[in-house]
Symmetry: C2
Subunit: 216 residues, 2 copies
């Protein structure tokens, strides 16, 4: 009889992945209210979801619940964080210290989300040398080399549309494996590079469409 050596990790759909941070969000609040066990129903009610869906999502994290009680909240938070790889930080470079870039550099909470931005880069000479939230802005020319030497794996792109592809190419040259792209451009990258798009316009489109529908 074979031993199952590693915990069976079920495939995680992208939709499940997007719900997990929402679970963390309300679980943290519940924890602050001294709640120790939480049922799939409580979570579902809180977020307006279906409890079966919540159970399925949580099953994907490997955390198991107890009949009649639900899930131990600490264990659950830890499990979700582990699934998202938010329980250890990955170093990242950010390129584009404009207003959005600066805003992102200012977020201290990203360290809770597995991201540790250690340097920022800019094209614009006037911005080079600035220090934003303890992070120095360096000239873009240094990007590839530094990424390579420091084994940085995540790149955040907050430059204008026209420059984004060039920046992505530099990142890939420096060995970056995952790009968080805020520029409103579809990046062309090799298969082994992960791109996660975070364009605001995508979510804005849903809003403006639904609003127009609801008003007519």
């Amino acid at each position: 009889m074979e031993m199952v050596l590693e915990k069976q990790v079920k495939a995680l759909s992208e939709r499940t992945l997007r719900r997990l941070p929402r679970y963390i969000e309300i679980l943290k609040r519940m924890k602050s209210e001294k709640i120790e066990f939480v049922s799939s129903n409580m979570i579902a009610d809180e977020l307006g979801l279906d409890s079966i869906q919540v159970r399925k999502d949580l099953a994907a994290t490997g955390v198991i619940g107890k009949p009649k009680l639900g899930f131990a909240i600490d264990e659950l938070i830890a499990g979700i964080k582990h699934t998202l790889n938010w329980d250890n930080q990955t170093d990242a470079f950010l390129v584009g210290a404009g207003s959005l870039g600066s805003a992102i550099l200012g977020y201290k909470t990203f360290s809770d989300h597995g991201l540790n931005i250690i340097a920022a880069f800019e094209n614009e000479p006037s911005k080079v040398g600035e220090i934003i939230n303890h992070i120095t802005v360096l000239p873009i020319e240094k990007l590839s080399d530094m990424a390579y030497r420091m084994k940085v794996h995540i790149g955040v792109i907050t430059v204008p549309a026209g420059e984004a592809q060039k920046v992505a190419d530099m990142m890939i040259e420096g060995g970056i494996k995952a790009i968080w792209n805020f520029a409103p451009v579809h990046l062309k990258v090799p298969d082994f590079v992960i791109v996660e798009n975070a364009q605001l316009s995508h979510s804005l489109g849903v809003l403006t469409h639904k609003l127009a529908e609801s008003l007519k």
Copy 2:
């Protein structure tokens, strides 16, 4: 025989809605390259999608293509914009003139996306009176009244988590019908209010998870 008075609008899934802005993005670039007709295959190739899916998405906008040629690019852009209601601007208020809020106020391109932010509000007295990208920061107390009097229908929330629900309540009191929420909180709102969440952490979770998977 009955006349079909209004163009038959098929139901638009949220997933289709999220792809439409991406189509606009590359269509605009193609247009600048003097391309006049574009096929579903060209779009699909460009974005790494399936051409059938592209055709289905475009069908939902009501734009019709020509066999052998594809879609007239101008007509297509206009049709998608119309579907998203990006062909006319809706006034909006933004609350929370922190770094992210300021960044959003700075985006001039939102006017291309149907959004016209006409005022910003803040809790923090030191920020009140500031002018960011021609938009004055007003005291939060004025929010509900002004929204009501000016018939503003969209609210953008860029305050810290702890204040977001309170701000949402004020917005709803002022008659706001759609909320674009950047605060990492699940907002509780009546059924008739549309909430579109734009939390960065959701997309970051997908990235960190996939990166961890790919590295092991």
